[in-house]
Each structure stands twice: as structure tokens, then as C-alpha cells.
């Protein structure tokens, strides 16, 4: 993967986290006042983390500092569509919380280039999106 491709991949991942943050935001917007306060707080904080990771990936893209991503490029790219689709239809707050927690762990793995952390998060997500 050359530097420009690496920058584009970081941009792709940033957009993915932005999408998730948007979907969590939409969920909160629709359900605010209807879901328990503790679940609202968890999801609201998760949305902040998703936005923060999205910004982190945008920054990595700017600096073209994302080389070496080839190893997990395919795995992550394949998972993103399933996660996006799943979040569009899920209505249960606890399922959204589970998915959000695992995508946050996935982001940590990508930022630190920790392959085992990425694999663990992807396996957990595979189970969660089928819930």
C-alpha cells in the first residue's frame, strides 16, 4: 500500500466511525426521553468516543501516517458494511451499546496496529451484529 492509498484508507476508516457516530446520534435523537438515563449516558459517551476516533483517523490520513495497514485492510473493510447495515435496523439499546463498545475496541486496535486486538474485536462484532 503506497502512502496515498494509506491516507485514503485512513480516510475510509474515519468515515466509517463517523457513520457509526451518526447512527448512534440518530438513535439517541429518536429515543431521547424513552430510554433509561443510564443507557442514554453510555450511548452518548460512546458517540463522543466514536467522533473522537473518527477525528483521529482523519488526522492520521492528513499526515499520511498510516502505512502498514495492509495486514488488516481487507478484514476491517469487509466488517464495516455488516456493522453499518446492522446498526441501521437494531432497535434495542443494549445491542447498540455492545456494538459501539466493540467498534471502539476495534479502533484502539487499528490506531495501535495491534492485530490480535483487531481480530478479537472483529470476532465479538461478528457475534453482536447477528443479535
Amino acid at each position: 500500500m503506497d502512502q496515498v492509498a494509506a491516507a485514503q484508507f485512513a480516510n475510509f476508516i474515519a468515515r466509517f466511525y463517523q457513520n457509526l457516530a451518526t447512527q448512534v446520534g440518530n438513535y439517541l435523537h429518536e429515543n431521547i426521553g424513552n430510554i433509561p438515563a443510564d443507557q442514554f449516558t453510555i450511548l452518548s459517551n460512546d458517540q463522543t468516543r466514536l467522533i473522537s476516533y473518527s477525528n483521529t483517523f482523519f488526522a492520521l490520513s492528513d499526515t499520511i501516517a498510516f502505512e502498514g495497514a495492509d495486514v488488516y485492510f481487507k478484514k476491517v473493510q469487509n466488517a464495516t458494511n455488516d456493522i453499518n447495515d446492522a446498526l441501521k435496523t437494531i432497535q434495542k439499546a443494549d445491542t447498540v451499546i455492545t456494538i459501539a463498545a466493540n467498534v471502539i475496541a476495534l479502533a484502539g486496535g487499528i490506531v495501535s496496529k495491534n492485530t490480535s486486538m483487531i481480530t478479537t474485536a472483529l470476532t465479538a462484532l461478528k457475534g453482536a451484529v447477528k443479535l
Partner: protein, 275 residues
């Protein structure tokens, strides 16, 4: 034996034409280069950049500060980053002005000073990689060569070799930068939505709801406008990249109708955005 005057004139005309063929009028290339220069010049002048972004994010991401000083923006370094980005646009404007003049020797452009290449480094939250700095340095060197030494004797292949090696990669990086900034503006909007939604939903004081809603709508419109500018910027840069590649791919075919039609498609796309 003396040559008839009319034949001598014809031969002279032929040689003149051959001499100027190197910088012959390629109307479509000229139109594309002129359109690209105008688009880049407009982008250079837009005022929402890294400074404005970090200024906004300082208080939008700092939910309910205790003091106003908590949301002070120490963003002077980002102004320098914006100046460097403007410098890169300046270089690209100069390149397309040179190309436009070359493609139509009758065209007149007032070349702006080319300026120094962007140095690699960190300016507050903004980082310029060694790769980006090297492209900027290549463009600066290429411009000096293209606009000074034996300018009229250059062939379009020389211009396009510089385009392929340094101009196109720099435009590509600026496109990624613009798309990243557009993405960050969307994130600012998400944060603004979240904060406003939370304040409006949970405040018990009805007198608070209206000012929150009013301020939310104002800021939202402002961010929408900046986002639209950046989305357009990305589209324009994509058009310039595609148009430049078309010239590179058709260097031996610049007078074909198929090339001219495709080139004018890019010219029209740039013009519709510009107006």
C-alpha cells in the same frame, strides 16, 4: 535558379508553424488549464481553514466549561498551517497559468510570485509530512524551469511530465486534506447536535430552550456553508486530477475529436462549479 516569392513565403510560413508547434494553440488544454487555475485560486481565497476549524472545535468539544478561559483557542500555529496550504494552492495556480499560456501563446496571465515550497513539520495540530513537502519542493523547482529557461521552446510533454511527477500527487494530497477537513466539519455538526439535543431535552427551564435552539440553528447553518464549500472543493480537485490525467494519456493525440470532447467535459464541469 531563384525561387518564386510565393513559394518562399509558403515555406517560411511552414517553418514558422513548425517552430510554434511546440507551444501550439491547443484550445481545449488552454480552457482546462484556465478553469483549473480559477478553481484553485478561488479555493485559496476561502477563509474556513484549520484555524477556523480548531477555533470551533475548542468550544464545541468542550461541553459546559467552568470558565471562558477553558475554551480559549491557542491556534496561532494553525494560521501558519493555513498559510502553507495557501502557498501550495499558489504554486498550483502558477503551474496551470503557465500551462494555459503555453497552450495558447496569446493568453496573458499575471503570474503571482511562486513562493517558497512548504517545509515539513508540525504547526499546532496540523502536520505536513516529508512526502507532501517533497512534492511542494518539486513543483517549485519545476515552475522555475517551466516559466523561465527557454519557456517557448518547451514541449507540452515537458509540462505534463512535471504534472505527472509532482503536480498531480500534490493535488491528490490536497484533495485528501480537503475531504478530511469536510469530514471533521461533519463531526463538529454531530457534536453540536448531541449537545443541543441534550440541553433542550433535559433542561427544566423553558427560558433556556429558545436561546439554545436559536444558537444551534445559527451555528448549524454556518457549518453547513463551510461543509458545502469543502465538498465542492473535493469535487473540483477530482475534476482537475481527472482532466490532467486525460492530457497525460493523450499526449500524442491532443488534436483528436474524442480527446477534445472529453476535455471540454472537464472544462464545463469546472465552469459550472465556478459560477
Amino acid at each position: 535558379m531563384t525561387m518564386p516569392l510565393s513559394l518562399r513565403n509558403s515555406i517560411l510560413l511552414f517553418f514558422c508553424a513548425a517552430v510554434f508547434a511546440g507551444c501550439a494553440s491547443v484550445k481545449e488544454v488552454n480552457a482546462f488549464a484556465t478553469g483549473s487555475r480559477q478553481a484553485l485560486d478561488k479555493q485559496r481565497a476561502e477563509n474556513f481553514g484549520y484555524y477556523a476549524y480548531y477555533h470551533d472545535s475548542t468550544y464545541l468539544y468542550h461541553y459546559l466549561p467552568d470558565h471562558l478561559r477553558d475554551v480559549d483557542c491557542h491556534c496561532d500555529a494553525e494560521k501558519q498551517a493555513d498559510a502553507h496550504i495557501a502557498g501550495e494552492y499558489n504554486q498550483l495556480c502558477s503551474y496551470f497559468a503557465a500551462l494555459a499560456r503555453f497552450a495558447d501563446p496569446g493568453a496573458y496571465f499575471n503570474f503571482a510570485p511562486i513562493g517558497a515550497p512548504v517545509p515539513a513539520g508540525t504547526y499546532g495540530h496540523v502536520n505536513f509530512s516529508a512526502q507532501e513537502a517533497s512534492y511542494s519542493a518539486y513543483v517549485a523547482t519545476a515552475l522555475t524551469t517551466l516559466t523561465t529557461t527557454g519557456y517557448k521552446a518547451k514541449k507540452i510533454k515537458v509540462f505534463m511530465a512535471e504534472y505527472r511527477d509532482s503536480v498531480a500527487p500534490l493535488i491528490m494530497l490536497l484533495k485528501i486534506r480537503a475531504d478530511n477537513l469536510a469530514g471533521r466539519i461533519v463531526n463538529l455538526q454531530l457534536q453540536l447536535d448531541r449537545t443541543a439535543d441534550s440541553l433542550i431535552s433535559y433542561t427544566t427551564d423553558k427560558a433556556v430552550k429558545m436561546p439554545v435552539l436559536f444558537v444551534y440553528e445559527q451555528k448549524r447553518k454556518e457549518l453547513d456553508a463551510s461543509l458545502a464549500h469543502y465538498q465542492q472543493r473535493v469535487k473540483e480537485l477530482e475534476t482537475i486530477i481527472a482532466g490532467g490525467q486525460l492530457i497525460v494519456d493523450n499526449l500524442d493525440n491532443l488534436h483528436s475529436q474524442s480527446f477534445k470532447n472529453k476535455m471540454m467535459g472537464f472544462v464545463n464541469a469546472l465552469a459550472s462549479n465556478y459560477h
